[in-house]
Amino acid sequence: MPEILKDKVGPQKQFHQHLDEGKFKIQRSKVTGEYFFHPRVAFPGTGDRDLEWVEVSGNGVVHSTTCNRRLPEKGGDFNLSIIKLDEGPKMMAMVFGVEPDKVEIGNKVKARIIELKGENNIVFDLIKD
């Protein structure tokens, strides 16, 4: 049996369990040391299943960013960005700490765990110089 199926839940659930414990962990290959996101049962493209969860720094850079326009009564405008983690992979998340349309590509950000849609998720705060 592949090592991963000995786990009680799949990688997606494990990711959220780590967040429940206050830890932002992503997977990497034990062989190459390369990280990837989102969580999967094997390294995408190679099929490498010799993986480990590693707590990451939470540091990243804004790779692209948008302001999603929304009526005030529905919650108002909000930011959605693509963050490139210092460990390499990219992920989608909101950036806080500045007006939603004032986030810039290249801004440095730091991860924070918050509850969204009834489960813990990652968002980012702008690091002010």
Binding site: T66, R69, I82, M92, N121
Partner: protein
């Protein structure tokens, strides 16, 4: 079967679109079936001869099966694969292979939507893990993220994007079938001051939301020559995709059209500079720029300026129907890209495929490129079509 046994061995002999605009009271299936019957009537082929059926919609989980039941036919081969708006351009490749393998003799490829009358943009897409919790406004947010990154990397502005919408509108003004035909030219100011949706994209950077259905009829070349229309031959077709979620796109400014285009050109034996008309899937203004670059019509980063060549009368006729931005966009636009590529060639060969204002038809067009996009800059499919002399 190898590539040389696909190139030029099948052809489209009938085509139709219907309900492009607003059609309250009509279901997606009724529109789609009407397009099928109209395309068959155009071809002169009886529905009893149809033994291959290909369809995808945002209304039917098993579109090919629902459509065959509605038509009352029993296909020997069917494909309802859904890779988004480009699905039909991949159905064309599958149909060509099934025809050439002798599995079927007549293929119909169809699509239908009543989304505008039914309340707006329609999708059957599932929520994306690791994105849905942030409530992105899909698909607009995805294309906005790509547009923003493009603007950053290549020093482009919203004014560059605006040129795409302005060019599409100018073509629509020449095409009486276009939804925005009567609406007049767009100015840069119109586009920049339009309601913002997801920055940097405003309302006029986004495609229309219309109803509409389309269908084509394909056969092997030997049978195609006996039909009453000018057959348009499939010279090349290729596809590739690498992501489903925008956050997984490897490079936000380069799509798989680089690969689909390269292989489609290779199969066809022609190169980008041989294309007489170019029909690109313009769901958003950024699309046209990325696809012109990725298909090789200009270098990466130069599409923002090259777009000026695509206005009517320019050096490269692009989206000559008015595109998804100003002609029609019922949610999955791929078959309309295809129809325009085919119509330009049939008109050039002397078939009556409708009226255009001066400059709307490309004189002496012999080869057209149709490019489909699906998902969020995800699936890319390129088809190259030609008149018989190009085989």
């Amino acid at each position: 079967m190898n590539i040389s046994e696909i190139r030029g061995k099948t052809a489209v002999v009938g085509l139709a679109e219907t309900g492009c605009g607003v059609t309250p009271g009509w279901s997606a299936m009724e529109l789609m079936a009407t397009a099928v019957y109209d395309a068959l009537e155009d071809s002169g082929i009886n529905i009893k001869e149809v033994d291959g059926l290909f369809a995808a919609t945002a209304f039917h989980s098993m579109a090919a099966m629902s459509l065959s039941e509605y038509l009352g036919i029993r296909p020997k081969f069917a494909d309802g694969s859904n890779i988004g708006g480009s699905s039909f351009l991949s159905h064309i490749l599958t149909a060509a292979m099934a025809l050439q393998a002798g599995l079927i003799n007549v293929a119909v490829i169809a699509y239908g939507s009543n989304q505008r009358s039914a309340g707006g943009f329609k999708t059957i897409s599932e929520a994306m893990p690791f994105e849905a919790q942030y409530e992105p406004r899909m698909p607009v947010t995805a294309y906005a993220l790509a547009a923003k990154r493009y603007m950053h990397e290549f020093n482009a502005s919203r004014k560059h994007l605006a040129n795409v919408a302005m060019a599409a509108r100018e073509w629509a003004l020449l095409n009486p079938r276009a939804y925005m035909h009567e609406k007049g030219s767009l100015t840069e100011e119109d586009i920049l001051s339009a309601r913002p949706i997801v920055d940097p994209l405003g309302k006029l950077d986004c495609c229309l939301v219309t109803d509409g259905a389309a269908a084509i009829v394909m056969t092997r070349s030997d049978k195609a020559r006996d039909t009453r229309n000018t057959p348009i031959y499939l010279l090349g077709a290729a596809m590739e995709h690498h992501h489903r979620m925008i956050s997984e796109m490897p490079d936000f400014t380069t799509t798989s059209a680089v690969e689909s285009g390269k292989r489609a050109f290779e199969m066809s034996g022609y190169k980008f500079s041989d294309m007489d008309t170019v029909q690109l899937y313009d769901a958003f203004t950024i699309n046209t720029i990325l696809f012109l670059e990725d298909l090789g019509f200009c270098k990466k980063g130069e599409g923002k300026d090259f777009i000026k060549e695509t206005f009517p009368g320019g050096s490269l006729p692009v989206n000559t129907n008015g595109g998804g931005l100003s002609c029609v966009h019922p949610g999955m636009y791929g078959l309309f890209v295809t129809l325009e590529a085919l119509r330009q060639l049939r008109n050039s060969a002397g078939d009556n495929v409708g009226e255009r204002k001066d400059g709307g038809w490309i004189n002496d067009a012999k080869i057209s490129l149709a490019h489909g996009n699906g998902g969020v800059l995800s699936s890319q499919v390129t088809n190259i079509w030609g008149l018989e002399e190009t085989i």
